[in-house]
Amino acid sequence: MSVGMERLDSRAWILWAIAAMVPVLIGRHPLVIGEILVIVVVVRIAWASRVATAGVGWLIRLGMVVLSISVIFNVLTVHAGDRVLARLPESLPVIGGVLTLNALVYGLVSALALFTLLLIGTTTGALLVWMDLFRLLPRRLAPIAVAGSVTWAFLPRTAAAFSQIREAQMMRGHRVRTGRDVLPLVMPLLAGGLERSLTTAEALEARGFGASLTPSGEPQPSSWSLRLGITIALVALLGGSYCLLVGLVLVGITLMLFGGGALAAALSPPRRGSRIPQPTRYHDMVWRREDMIVSAAAVGVLGVTFGRMMVSPAGFRFDPYPALELPGTDLPLMIALSALLLPAMFAPGTDSAGIEGRR
């Protein structure tokens, strides 16, 4: 098996991200969250040469903000638990009552879960090749996919731009002392953001994204029926989701199937021979053995996760109320989750000086 490849397939990364996110979303078990966090950090560092970000400083700062908000909100609004730290007057609305260590611990675990999800999302977003994903989607969904990719890339790109602007201003002797000093940082960031938006829009336009599926001058007999079909499908999917949430399983599944079918029909590829512009393809997607291994591991982890959730949901749960007690450990589940470390094995190499590997 060749070790150290240029990149993994985007489909494998998506499966890996889903498998990593599901255990964190299901429960608040600190050991499970801690394990996933360690794995994601390792994978992120191993693939650092492909994660094009302006360092991890902004991510850590964002994590600290999430941590602060989560802990403060939980401590001030949940007045339960056996480890009382302090007491606020009961007359204070919402925040009045006992402040407990139980609430603080739960806030910390929740913040850790949020940060882990954020790390999984940004890591996967940086490692995905969005063009590959476009090709997997129905062509009618191309505008949505483009909008999604631009949105996804917004935060890291803005953070990188802000870092560059700050460094440039520091070289000119600028120091932030008061609120007014932030203006020389914000204005170039705003102008740069607009410029980047225009450049992105021009690049997309030049590549034919957003173009009408029907060549101009031709009648569009199916546009209203297409819109109606999509509307009915989305309403059916929404109604089905609601029915499933309130426990009307049979009606919910029926509506979901109907909505899914209608959506598939509405978004089905156009007839052969139609003069719809074809996007240019410069390379074919290659499914390698490493992609297969990572995907199989992710699917296996998902299977074990759902299986353990049905058999032994306590492995995902941590409830510090009303008594703060240590959680149990579901060792088989944790061993299965360790398979998510596999992408780190296939990370691209860098030379000893840290110079980026193959591009």
Partner: protein, 219 residues
């Protein structure tokens, strides 16, 4: 579900105290074969349902719902965490999944859910309230303060006999299936923590190998 959303919490009680000591009863059905009974003495004219529950001394977890008051998440460790409680008062997508139902007793001993919530309910002298961890209408026996006093072995003059307000009297009948859960220690967490440390070490080795690997992929 609305029955478990309580009103103004402790502020619903009448503030002025009286010399007379009142007594109210509480019956808690955990849905696992256990039932707790409690007799609570108070000097106010009336209490809110959640205040009566709080004064019973049983460990409870509640979350505030603004103007609607508090929602009861768990009683004596039976229930759900505040996150699930905030979302749907412990209920899942299954409409018959359990939550803490607050019930009041009508004339004749029949129980019915208190639709305005326990905080809007005025518990007076001689009333008996019930809480049931169930997703369906519970089947509870009629209960009066007198019969509860007999059940708990409390003398009729118990509330007014002492100098101050007497402590609540509680009793739990029945055993949960599987018995009591044993306390966990740090030693139980050791395998999981060792596994995380092992993953960290393995990751460190992988990263080092990546760093030393030539860009061409060889070694």
């Amino acid at each position: 579900m609305l029955a478990a959303v309580l009103g103004q919490g402790a502020t619903a009680q009448t503030p002025e105290a009286t010399d007379h000591i009142n007594v109210a009863g509480l019956m808690i059905d955990y849905g696992d074969g256990r039932v707790s009974y409690a007799l609570v003495a108070f000097t106010e004219e009336s209490l809110s349902g959640v205040e009566l529950l709080r004064r019973s001394g049983l460990p409870i977890v509640t979350v505030p719902f603004g103007g609607l008051g508090e929602g009861v998440c768990s009683i004596d460790a039976v229930g759900c965490d505040p996150g699930a409680c905030r979302r749907r008062l412990c209920q899942s997508a299954d409409r018959e999944s359990p939550f803490w139902q607050y019930l009041r007793q009508a004339e004749g001993g029949s129980w019915s859910p208190a639709v305005l919530g326990a905080s809007h309910a005025d518990v007076d002298d001689g009333d008996v309230d019930a809480w049931s961890w169930s997703g369906t209408p519970p089947d509870l026996p009629p209960m009066s303060v007198t019969s509860m006093r007999d059940l708990l072995g409390v003398q009729p003059g118990w509330a007014s006999g002492g100098a101050g307000l007497p402590d609540p009297v509680t009793m739990t009948q029945g055993e949960p299936p599987g018995g009591n859960s044993d306390q966990r220690s740090w030693r139980d967490l050791a395998p999981g923590m060792a596994l995380i440390a092992g993953i960290g070490m393995a990751g460190w080795v992988m990263i080092r190998r990546t760093r030393h690997r030539s860009p061409a992929g060889g070694r």
